[in-house]
């Protein structure tokens, strides 16, 4: 076979593997009026007992939930450092559990038609779905469809929803659950610990390298419904896994709350990559706690992309617990009118010769506001630790606001850190230049934004960078008056 020509290569780069996906179908509205289980609105001990009984949980889990509720109620809102907008969440108006009551399905035929329709609306052709390794779609609280590809299961990989994980693999689950992010870590991790349902539980056995990324789609569906998924991923020694989640949410008139907890454990020499591309409706409070522990020679990489929502507060973190552990956060945030993206990263160095890398890019459009908040901690007694932090902000039109709060505490003289920050603007001249080539104002802004994040977007798997580009195009279309 002769090598491809230059021309063929260029063309191949154009044609991405997901070209068959109808990218216009991401914006969907979906009516659901037949929930079998509904915890009603409001939060109390009764709510939690209801959730726990519907899920037929072990007594220790109920205990765990009730204790978490108390912690949640005791903790003040973190408004002494975070935005006052948090005070606008009315916890008594939120619906904490809603489920159609079906068990997770393993084969496509068993999936109800209306759920299949939702998949169609997500724009994924059936052909394409079959190639996805173990699609785990959260249909509101419960996973409606869960398919582990044979090859993954044969490798001994456990990939189930968290309810099933608790039920069928309590010995592994319990050992790691709530250890990376304790209930009392913050007010919202406590809330999640009290009312969690859904989310994924993944265990990759020693030395197993999962070839295909495991995927999940999350959505917020019902009005006033909060989604509180709980994900726990454990990569045993030398194991490797990539997990991807995508979120879409239809627009509703009242505020909704999404408060997830994601815990990753990478044991000695393991690698975990966790990729998120989300597009929440602009009335969603998205308050998520994500953290991983990297043991000796292990690597954890968060790729986090935040578009939409009313307020997002999310700072994926890595605790570098073992020598030579590596942590990385690549983050993209886009704040449009009325949105506040308060995002960043945490790197806690706790062993010698650990390295961390943070690259955060934010885009503020119109009245949108972006905040970078980062913590890098390297204590004095360690040596050979390195951190690199880069924060770049792009402002589109004069009302945009961006703030950077990098808290880097590097003690001792045997460690190194470097920090770079930049703020740039899409200038009128730049837009005019592009318009003079025939691009509309929206296309020009979209291209400028895509260029700004280009080096980071290249780190994404192809279908996610395509999705990201599409989302940015949509955002920019909406922002031109």
């Amino acid at each position: 076979m002769k090598p491809p020509t230059e021309l063929e290569n260029a063309v191949a780069a154009e044609n991405n593997p997901v070209a068959g996906i109808d990218q216009t179908k991401g914006d969907f509205q979906y009516k659901v009026d037949h929930y079998a289980f509904d915890a009603g609105t409001g939060l109390s001990e009764d709510t939690i007992r209801y959730i726990s009984s519907v899920k037929k949980e072990e007594p220790w889990i109920l205990e765990f939930r009730l204790k978490a509720l108390k912690t949640f109620l005791d903790k003040p809102m973190p408004t002494h450092w975070a935005t006052k907008d948090l005070e606008n969440i009315d916890f008594q108006k939120i619906r904490y559990y809603l489920s159609q009551g079906q068990k997770p399905k393993r084969t496509w035929d068993e999936v109800p038609d209306d759920i299949k329709k939702t998949f169609e609306r997500l724009g994924i052709p059936e052909q394409e779905r079959k190639f996805l390794a173990g699609v785990e779609a959260q249909f509101d609280s419960e996973a409606a469809y869960s398919n582990i590809k044979d090859i993954v299961a044969k490798q001994g990989v456990i990939f189930v929803n968290s309810t099933e994980g608790l039920r069928e693999h309590p010995e592994i689950f319990r050992k790691f659950f709530g250890k990376v992010i304790p209930t009392g870590d913050n007010k919202f991790s406590a809330l999640n610990s009290a009312v969690f349902s859904g989310g994924s539980f993944i265990y990759v056995p020693k030395g197993v390298k999962v070839a295909q990324p495991l995927q999940a789609y999350f959505r917020i569906n019902a009005e006033n419904f909060g989604q509180f998924e709980r994900t726990l991923i454990i990569a045993d020694e030398g194991a490797e896994v990539v997990y991807m989640e995508g979120c879409t949410a239809p627009k509703f008139s009242t505020s909704t709350l999404h408060s997830a907890v994601v815990e990753l454990v990478a044991l000695k020499g393991a690698k975990i990559q966790y990729i998120t591309v989300q597009n929440w409706a602009n009335n969603v409070f998205n308050l998520v706690t994500k953290r991983g522990i990297a043991h000796e020679d292990a690597e954890i990489k968060w790729i986090d992309c935040n578009i939409g929502s009313r307020l997002t507060m999310k700072y994926p973190g890595v605790v570098l617990k073992g020598e030579r552990a590596r942590g990385e956060v690549l983050s993209i945030a886009l704040a449009n009118d009325g949105q506040h993206q308060d995002t960043g990263a945490k790197m806690i160095h706790a062993a010698n010769n650990t390295t961390s890398n943070i690259i955060a890019k934010s885009i503020s459009v119109g009245q949108g506001r972006s905040t970078y908040r980062g913590v890098v901690h390297i204590p004095k007694h360690l040596k050979g630790c390195k951190n690199n932090t880069e924060c770049d902000a792009l402002l589109i039109n004069t009302n945009s606001r961006t703030d950077t709060y990098p808290a880097i505490s590097v003690r001792g003289d045997k460690n190194a850190t470097q920090h770079e920050a930049s703020v740039s603007k899409v200038s009128e001249d730049m837009i005019f230049y592009m318009q003079s080539r025939g691009l509309t104002e929206a296309q020009a802004m979209s291209l400028a934004v895509n260029g700004f994040i280009n080096d980071l977007a290249r780190e994404f798997p192809m279908e996610y960078s395509v999705e990201l580009k599409r989302l940015i195009d949509l955002e920019m279309e909406g922002s031109v008056g």
Partner: protein, 255 residues
Amino acid sequence: MSQLEIKDLHISIGEKSIVKGFNLTIKPGEVHAIMGPNGTGKSTLAKAIAGHPDYTITQGDVLLDGKSVLAMEPDERARSGLFLAFQYPSEIPGVSIANFLRAAVQARLAEGEELDATGYYKRLYAKMDMLKIDRKFTSRAVNDGFSGGEKKRCEILQLAMLEPKVALMDETDSGLDIDALRIVAEGINAIRAGAKPPGILLITHYQRLLDYIVPDFVHVMYAGRIVKSGDKTLALELEAKGYDWVKQEFAAATA
């Protein structure tokens, strides 16, 4: 007939009137050089015709194929066949020349029509060969960190790819050394010798560009309008006598 007619054009920035009654018609394939001292409104003319928001057209009209472009957005003007080669092209970090041009070509297609990637790259590579541009060039981000010469070559490549009806070339020679100037001029000449040569308005301060691109007409602009027109010999005359001669004639005529 693809022609550009500029009729009694008056342009101001804010309250300040810059161009005062400019008239010119450019037919397809013609090269019109506009010369004149600094501050006479040459660049203003080019940017205003392209639709830059800082400039206000207070009087007159600009017609492309008999249709006024003044109510159009800059991108509409571009899609109808106007092209402005910038004196100072903007940098677009992270966007490769190939992707930028692809977006520009795509923008010219009808709604729902998809760009044929194979055809696009074939055409791009053919144009690059014609302009003697290295293949690696188009994978670089648009103008990002480019030398003066590279920026101008990037403009010429865009001109070649977008095949406008009329090209306004604003001080294309500025900031170029003699080698870069020759390369850029060769590019323009190649486009001029092509199947569908655009009408070209060549704005320049110095005569030296016209050694390489021989114009069909030379116009001298002063105080916001054309004060003298002729053929290429006028450029040589200006080179020998300088602009003072024009200024004196203008003063005598308006006295």
